[in-house]
């Protein structure tokens, strides 16, 4: 292994700036690492090798002229395969889009390209982002780089694995109900879901529009801040995108005299479903912050059963709606020999979609039928509103809420988790999604099996800087 790949993004920036190595060298180093690790890790679905090397050469040319574009210029990265990349296959890990070549770039892709970042390739995910292990991918198998017998998590499993395996210094994923934070936790990297709307979703293939966020995976909080700074901002192509009021993410946003107010959730710490190793890590994290002068308080997370149900119903209903466009007529998989309109649709879709996708479409459609919608869908929206209000209330009293990211560390591949277990595993994650709040999963040690542990920080809207600053404290302890 080329030792270069161990370095962080910010370290690469410094090195590139002082010409210690070139972007081309750096890109080759990562490409070699990808070649070395991929047979086991399997994070990548499509590589962008030639274009990447070209782009790296262009970055070096810029540096030579003193025309560097800033923090991310010449830095390689990976994209979850649900971001549209012009001329580069975008599959959502589905047979439905196995050969889909988008004729346009997602807004974040354009931003990163304008910033000079180097796209190395598209990484694996659960099919159409439905799942939490990346095992529903129809196009490849991804293994946890820390221990290949274990899942990397999902749905952004490829993104987390690529960063953890040192194949790229950063990657983009998508987080709808924990899909960036959970794989980050399982793979031992940092995973951020920003405030809803601060990063444009235009060109990110939708799962659940009111919940989806572009997410970031890095190894350090400084790296995360750098990428975040590049990506935030109102995009006229995304009507739900908002301006972020804080332009610089390393600024200390607290009025520095006042100590950090941290809320802790006692029920979670006492819940059997939380494994002892996770509980330990959470308690330790609380201690670290207390030692740094934080003031602690206890809160309860409002209506956990309803929160999980609301997430489940809303995400399924929106997903069913967003996936209705996949019919093989204008793009994607078209069935052969359908002789009537209904078969054309039904066969194309059934051939293209996997079981989990079908299940969620059926459930989502079911919840929107005339009989069921006021029983469940409308109530889910009402529950979401009230839960969101309560969360905002808590985050006026406290700067952040500290919880586990997941109830357990990564589990073995092919583990048959019961459906209930799978759903309940989202508990810590869904609140930030339902309320549109920024949330950060911070790696925090390993368990006795060597598997990564993590804690989650949830903050008020636009408090990403505060979350990153707090994460830094925890990072320093882990070193």
């Amino acid at each position: 292994m080329n030792e270069l790949v161990r370095r962080s993004l910010t370290e690469h920036r410094a090195a590139l700036d002082r010409r210690e190595y070139s972007s081309v060298e750096l890109t080759h180093a990562y490409l070699n690492e990808i070649e070395r690790r991929e047979p086991i890790v399997g994070a990548f679905l499509t590589l962008n090798t030639e274009k990447a090397i070209q782009a790296a050469a262009q970055a070096d040319a810029r540096f030579a002229k003193g025309e560097g574009r800033g923090m991310l210029d010449g830095i390689p990265y990976a994209l979850k395969d649900n971001f549209c990349t012009r001329g580069l296959r975008t599959t959502c890990a589905s047979k439905m889009l196995a050969d889909f070549m988008p004729p346009y770039d997602a807004s974040v892709v354009t931003r990163l390209s304008d910033a000079g970042a180097i796209l190395l390739g598209k990484v694996n995910m659960d099919e159409f982002a439905m799942g939490s292990t990346t095992e529903t991918s129809a196009l490849g198998v991804t293994r946890n780089p820390v221990n290949p017998d274990y899942v990397p998590g999902g749905s952004s499993g490829g993104s987390a694995a690529a960063v953890a395996a040192l194949e790229v210094p950063f990657a983009l994923g998508s987080d709808t109900g924990g899909s960036v934070r959970q794989p980050a936790a399982f793979c031992g990297v940092l995973g951020m879901k920003p405030t809803y709307g601060v990063i444009s979703r235009y060109g990110m293939i939708a799962l659940a529009s009111s919940l989806d966020c572009v997410g970031l995976l890095t190894r350090t909080s400084d790296d995360c801040g750098a990428v975040l700074s590049c990506l935030v901002g109102r995009d006229e192509k995304d009507a739900t995108s908002v301006m972020h009021p804080n332009s610089q993410f390393f600024k200390n946003e607290r009025i520095s005299e006042r100590p950090l107010r941290v809320a802790v959730v006692r029920e979670l710490l006492e819940d059997d479903e939380i494994s002892p190793d996770i509980r330990c890590a959470t308690v330790r994290a609380i201690e670290v912050l207390r030692e740094r002068g934080a003031e602690l308080g206890e809160v309860s997370l409002p209506s956990p059963e309803a929160a999980l149900a609301a997430y489940c119903v809303i995400s399924a209903a929106e997903a069913a709606s967003n996936l209705a466009r996949y019919d093989g007529i204008r793009y994607g998989r078209t069935t052969d020999g359908a002789d009537d309109l209904f078969s054309l649709y039904a066969k194309s879709r059934s051939e293209g979609f996997g079981v989990e996708v079908k299940r969620r479409i059926l459930f989502g459609t079911y919840m929107m039928t005339e009989d069921k919608r006021d029983l469940y869908y409308d109530r889910a929206r009402e529950a979401r509103g009230r839960i969101g209000e309560r969360m905002h209330q808590i985050l006026r009293q406290y700067d952040l809420i500290l919880t586990p990211t997941t109830p357990t560390a990564a589990f073995k591949r092919g583990s048959a988790l019961t459906p209930t277990q799978r759903r309940r595993a989202d508990l810590c994650a869904v609140y930030a999604s339902l309320a549109g709040l920024p949330a950060l999963s911070v790696p925090f040690g390993r368990n006795t099996d060597g598997l990564p542990l993590a804690v989650q920080l949830v903050g008020a809207p636009y408090s990403e800087g505060l979350l990153l600053e707090t994460a830094k404290c925890l990072e320093e302890v882990c070193q």
């Binding site: 549209c84 009111s210 039928t369």
Partner: protein, 481 residues
């Protein structure tokens, strides 16, 4: 029971294409007639990852339409997804407004034999148009140029009672919307289409009958005929003791009948969902007021003004105001004319048939029309001469006054001249004179006609008639030898 024992209950849902440069949710152009699939982008094609953005101008025009139709514009509304699968719907949902629409509760006035009646408008909402489907052999071609074109849907209360009323409603609606610049109203380009809901019930009954829907009518004539046919069809069914079924039909112009549509390939349950990709629409009072102030004079108000100012009969004023350009033309003429009523008459009864209608233009300038009207009003020429001059003006421009002078076309008002012409005519037509003397009063008309002919149409008709009568009284037929 017979047809006249029933009352028809008719409501219209009119889809109007808004006059914007770009589509409602993307920046593709809305021009008509382009090569297929050359006005498309990821958004209107429903590509993965694409997201809609609302066209400000479309919202403004929708507000103006609402205000022009006396509606209440709501300060807060939202878009919704209407979900169904069909090849003309790229996303498998249409972004429309199912919940709170942009406008509620307006009305449109139509003229009926029993006087004016206000037809209620329930709601006006914005939505996107679907792609165009073209039949080919064994397959269907899809052109997505139209996908995403901005529409407003105007839903009326079921207060129309006949095909004629529905056609008048549509005419008035089109006239108002075109004059306000909300739509170009080009029927042949599909700028205005309607779906009709029709049911019948026994006269006097308050209960509504089963209704059928006739979809996608794009002309006033077809709408009227389709409704007439459907009303008759339903009445006949009921008279035979059969039930009207709730179905969707279309109008077949060739046969003049409504026809049951094939079973639709779409599900009835639209599973409406608030559109998560578009925020709620907020309109301030000031903004609504500003848009209202930007409305031009509406046809109704203009007709009333023309009627008052120029002394036109209401009916004539209404017809003139159906087309803003026609009304403009009339006003330019009337403004410089001492006899505006005559100008209106000439225009409506003679000139109009020689004019272009889409858009309106006249081969005769407003100035010339006004001069003609004045020549008539002064008594310089009679109506027959005026008509002839008008026709000649359609062929080529000239100064009517000067031509009348030069060609000696002025009316003959001179009693002596007229008497001479009459005497000459009578002398040449002893038979007719004899007939008249023997009681056949119709012979007088033929004699008058000959006097007119003798004077090349210049004899003043009323005076001529009077003189002719007088002379005939005293005339004695010379005995034949």
């Amino acid at each position: 029971m017979k047809l006249s024992d029933f009352e028809a209950v008719i409501g219209l849902e009119v889809h109007v294409e808004l006059k914007t440069a770009t589509k409602i949710f993307c920046s593709c152009p809305t021009d008509f007639g382009a090569e297929p699939n050359t006005r498309c982008c990821p958004i209107c094609m429903g590509l993965p990852g694409a997201m809609p953005t609302l066209n400000r101008r479309a919202v403004e025009l929708a507000v103006m339409a609402g205000l022009a139709l006396h509606g209440t514009v709501l300060p807060l509304c939202r878009t919704d997804r209407k979900q169904y699968f069909y090849p003309d719907l790229p996303k498998a949902y249409q972004i429309s407004q199912a919940g709170v629409p942009i406008c509620r509760n307006g009305y449109l006035t139509i003229a009926t034999p029993d006087g004016d009646r206000d037809i209620g408008i329930t709601r006006i909402h914005i939505e996107e148009d679907a792609a165009k489907l073209i039949h080919a052999d064994g397959r269907t071609l899809v052109d997505y140029n139209r996908s995403g074109v901005p529409l407003i849907e105007i839903v009326s209360e079921p207060q129309l009672r006949s095909g004629k009323e529905a056609a008048d409603y549509l005419r008035n609606l089109r006239s108002i919307l075109v004059s306000c610049g909300i739509t170009d109203g080009k029927m042949q380009e599909g700028s205005l289409r309607c779906d009709v809901n029709v049911s019948v019930r026994p006269l006097g009954s308050a209960k509504l009958g089963v209704r059928t829907e006739i979809k996608n009518l794009n002309s006033f004539a077809f709408t009227e005929k389709a409704i007439e046919y459907e009303v008759r069809r339903q009445c006949e069914l009921i008279c035979r003791g059969e039930a009207v079924r709730m179905e969707t039909r279309r109008y077949d112009a060739a046969s003049g009948k409504t026809v049951l549509m094939r079973t639709k390939e779409r599900a009835e349950d639209y599973r409406f969902m608030t559109e998560p990709d578009l925020p709620p629409i907020f309109l301030s009072e000031e903004e609504i007021e500003t848009l209202g102030n930007a409305l031009p004079e509406l046809p109704e108000a203009r007709a009333a003004r023309l009627s008052k100012t120029y002394g036109l009969p209401e009916g004539d004023a209404r017809i003139l105001c159906e087309d803003a350009l026609l009304a403009d033309y009339f006003e330019s003429a009337a403004d410089v004319c001492a006899y505006p009523r005559l100008a209106a008459n000439l225009l409506l009864s003679e000139l109009l048939r020689y004019c272009e209608s889409e858009p309106f233009s006249s081969p005769v300038s407003a100035r010339r029309l006004s001069v003609l009207a004045e020549l008539m009003g002064e008594g310089t020429v009679n109506s027959s001469t005026a008509k002839k001059l008008l026709l000649r003006l359609c062929e080529g421009d000239f100064d009517p006054r000067e031509t009348v002078e030069r060609e000696g076309l002025a009316q003959i008002l001179d009693t002596e001249l007229l008497t001479r012409a009459i005497m000459e005519t009578l002398a040449e037509n002893p038979r007719a004179v004899a007939d008249y003397k023997n009681g056949k009063t119709a012979a007088m008309r033929s004699l008058q006609g000959r006097v007119m002919a003798r004077t090349a149409g210049r004899a003043e008709p009323v005076l001529t008639e009077h003189l002719l009568k007088q002379i005939l009284e005293e005339y004695e037929v010379e005995p034949h030898v």
